[in-house]
């Protein structure tokens, strides 16, 4: 792959990534959000993030795997449980990662 081609990839990715993040800010002083959109936006983070990770957790090999032998499921379950129980993000992450590697080792 030529250097020019790789540079074009990075340039193109930058343009669309920055474009998406910035386009509404460019004319932010003139954008007026209807009330119902404001209300719906509150559900964006939880919906987007679960849509990213749920397939990774339930289908680590491309097929549905709901078994105790799936370390992704066990680790994510542990993180979810700790996250609900304690308001502590760092603990949630550390317990999740620890349980993931433990079950990877044991299974």
């Amino acid at each position: 792959m030529s250097t020019t081609y790789l540079m074009l990839i990075i340039l193109g990715m930058f343009v669309v990534t920055f474009g998406v993040r910035f386009c509404l800010f460019a004319k932010a002083n003139r954008v007026v959000m209807p009330g119902w959109i404001e209300g719906a936006l509150g559900f964006v983070p939880i919906s987007v993030l679960s849509a990213i990770i749920v397939p990774m957790v339930f289908m680590p090999n491309g097929e549905l795997d709901i078994n105790l032998s799936n370390p992704w499921l066990i680790g994510a379950g542990a993180a979810f449980f700790v996250g609900l129980l304690k308001q502590n993000q760092l603990l949630t992450i550390l317990v999740g990662v620890a349980v993931f590697y433990l079950s990877k080792l044991l299974v």
Partner: protein
């Protein structure tokens, strides 16, 4: 509150997610190396594009020899969720000079949004000064992402097979750490609509997983947003009729 104290507030709020992001950045650097890409390419992508999950998707496409337009349009779709974050932040940035809007736009990643946005809701920062908290979060995240990428590039050369370790689980755990606070009851909100959003987006993401170019992710997210919003409207109507 002074500006540097606000920046510190943003950094502190981001700290758990920064810890969770380190293995993910290392994985990116090492994956690029183990697949024969040059170190400068991995570093340039992390510093110029600065988009965690889209970088992984693009890497996969490059290795499949996908054409340029596919790589760029997929990046666009994977990152489209950020427009929803931007829409939510407009009310806090619209009075800011262009320079600030450029910086916040460039740094608008999942984690910084998730770390800083709740600080407005709990009145720890305000529309007048919140952008400094965002700057603190962005800078610490940006530095971590570059350092982790470089570390991954170096480690990927020294330790072959590192990309098989499942380091991307750190991202899963980090995102769970962002999700769960929405599901806990506070005096500010009712939690049921957030559970509805979580469950419907999750089911949709599994059902739509086969769609090409990660379109399933986008549609599943929209399903979650819609269902959550419907549930919250129903709940609001219920409260009104109970009071009346």
């Amino acid at each position: 509150m002074k500006n540097h104290e606000l920046m510190k507030k943003g950094m502190v709020a981001s700290l758990p997610m920064i810890v969770g992001g380190i293995p993910f950045g290392i994985l990116f650097g090492s994956l690029a190396m183990s697949n024969g890409l040059s170190p400068w390419f991995a570093i340039a992508m992390s510093s110029i594009v600065f988009a965690g999950s889209a970088q992984f998707v693009a890497l996969g496409l490059i290795l499949m020899d996908a054409p340029l337009w596919v790589i760029i349009s997929t990046t666009f779709i994977v990152n489209l969720r950020h427009i929803l974050y931007a829409a939510d932040l407009i009310k806090f940035v619209k009075h800011l000079p262009m320079k600030w809007r450029l910086i916040i736009g460039f740094g608008l990643v999942d984690e910084s949004y998730a770390a800083v946005r709740p600080l407005y809701g709990t009145n720890q920062i305000s529309t007048e000064n919140g952008h400094y908290a965002f700057l603190g979060s962005f800078l610490s995240f940006y530095l971590m992402w570059q350092a982790a990428t470089i570390l991954g590039v170096v480690a990927g050369e020294l330790i072959p097979g590192m990309s098989q370790w499942g380091l991307e689980f750190a991202m899963v755990a980090t995102f769970i750490g962002i999700i769960t606070p929405y599901l806990q009851k506070t005096h500010l909100k009712s939690v049921a609509p957030y559970w509805v959003a979580l469950i419907s987006a999750s089911v949709a993401s599994l059902v739509l997983n086969g769609l090409p170019n990660n379109l399933g992710l986008l549609f599943a997210a929209l399903v979650g947003v819609l269902m959550g919003y419907l549930a919250s409207s129903l709940k609001a109507n219920q409260l009104v009729s109970e009071e009346g």
